[in-house]
Point group: C3
Chain length 188, copies 3
């Protein structure tokens, strides 16, 4: 009996060790999430980001896109009048594309003709355009975070941006917290 | 004895809980894989992608590259005649580089002179060029997926592409399934 | 008693199986690390990389940046005279930016005016510039690996690079070993 009891407490000790190790592993295991930084302002790269995001929304529990720098103008709403701004902010507003319809291809833009032809081709081949993809992303719960620092630098305001259900301003720490717990992270 | 028996069934219950938690962790653990989206059509970025891929083939169980958009022309075989195509597809075929030898540096191309000098320098320093890296990738089992939607959009056909052992057409869901189970995913 | 003893050894067997499975899971679990390839030579993308790196240094145990190709000139020290070089290396040295202060925006550079205005704006809005971010990265223990093959190709030498505490030359295998054990990997 004594030997048996010792075995039992030995097994119990080992089970406790396993329970603690599993708790650590579970706490560190990635969640079923995909996160992306979107920095490029090119139509083709933002299209790719949104094709990935809307595809991922059907496969992962959560998809987060962090729009920063040149990607932010893609989220401007061309219908909304910008609030009063200082000189530099007005200049950024004037020089950068006013929303998704104004974005250009990174190659073969050819003064806008290439971009227009690509858009026509996409419609013909029934490939969703940027505005439709943003709509689809909104419907499928993709989260959009806009980099607060870039917004302040370029002088963009929340009220000029498109209406989007799950949209917030955030900093790099928010992205890193997502990336560190995601199954995959991309920089686009 | 009774107390002992209770202990035993209590231990058994805890072991069963552990077994179930470990099954979940194991099912969600990333596999020994590396996955990449290659979207850029620049010689330097595709070189980087293939240097990473061939290096990774020696270290990971599986390496997958997803060629999309501007990266697809890098896989055209300059020796193969394209099949009959509609006007837009002929135009893409004519405007985009015809295979690896026609790719250009993203910077310092200088009308082709910079690219030619870089290639000469790579040969001199015994750094593998794009064609050799593709050969090496094929030999070391790197999988190449070509984005079906981009192929249809630009009018490229499988029969114009280089011979490559593990090549297939696929969609974004295939990439996402790989990325979600890979140790690392890159967007190039 | 006999039945009880069999149970005990059965439990022991299951515990041993669990211990072995957990050892495998723990060995394969990602470490608390973030790794990045920085290939772009554009001021904006290198700024983004360093903002992510310095932010990550506060959240992860280890942050590694792998500078390759066009990104390497950002690490040149403009105060240091280059050692004697062959013709091609002198040409790279002459054509590529001499250190962080010489980098340009990927868009809106406008012959340097746009880049100068962005830098002025960053100072005004108290956003750290590239030199300060490199300083911050050094202080917070971010590791910088410089791609040996690119250094040899472009003819750059370690002695022309900025002083940086945790800096080393390395190859693609070093990056892949980091990426394969990191919680997140980015290609910038």
């Amino acid at each position: 009996m004594t030997g048996n009891t010792i075995d039992q407490s030995e097994l119990q000790r080992r089970i406790e060790a396993l329970e603690s190790e599993i708790a650590t592993l579970t706490a560190n295991a990635p969640e079923d999430k995909l996160s992306m930084v979107v920095m490029s302002g090119d139509l083709d790269r933002i299209l790719a980001a949104l094709i990935i995001a809307t595809g991922a929304a059907a496969m992962f529990d959560k998809v987060s896109m962090f729009f920063t720098f040149w990607a932010i103008p893609a989220l401007r709403d061309p219908e909304k009048a910008p609030p009063p701004k200082d000189f530099m902010s007005r200049m950024f507003g004037w020089m950068l594309p006013k929303g998704a319809p104004a974005l250009k291809l990174s190659k073969m833009n050819m003064g806008g003709m290439g971009t227009a032809m690509m858009k026509g081709l996409m419609r013909k081949k029934k490939v969703m355009g940027l505005e439709e993809l943003l709509q689809r992303a909104a419907e499928s719960g993709v989260q959009i975070c806009i980099c607060q620092m870039s917004m302040e630098l370029m002088g963009f305001k929340s009220e000029e941006m498109i209406d989007y259900p799950d949209r917030k301003l955030c900093g790099v720490a928010t992205f890193l917290a997502e990336a560190g717990t995601s199954k995959a992270s991309l920089f686009i």
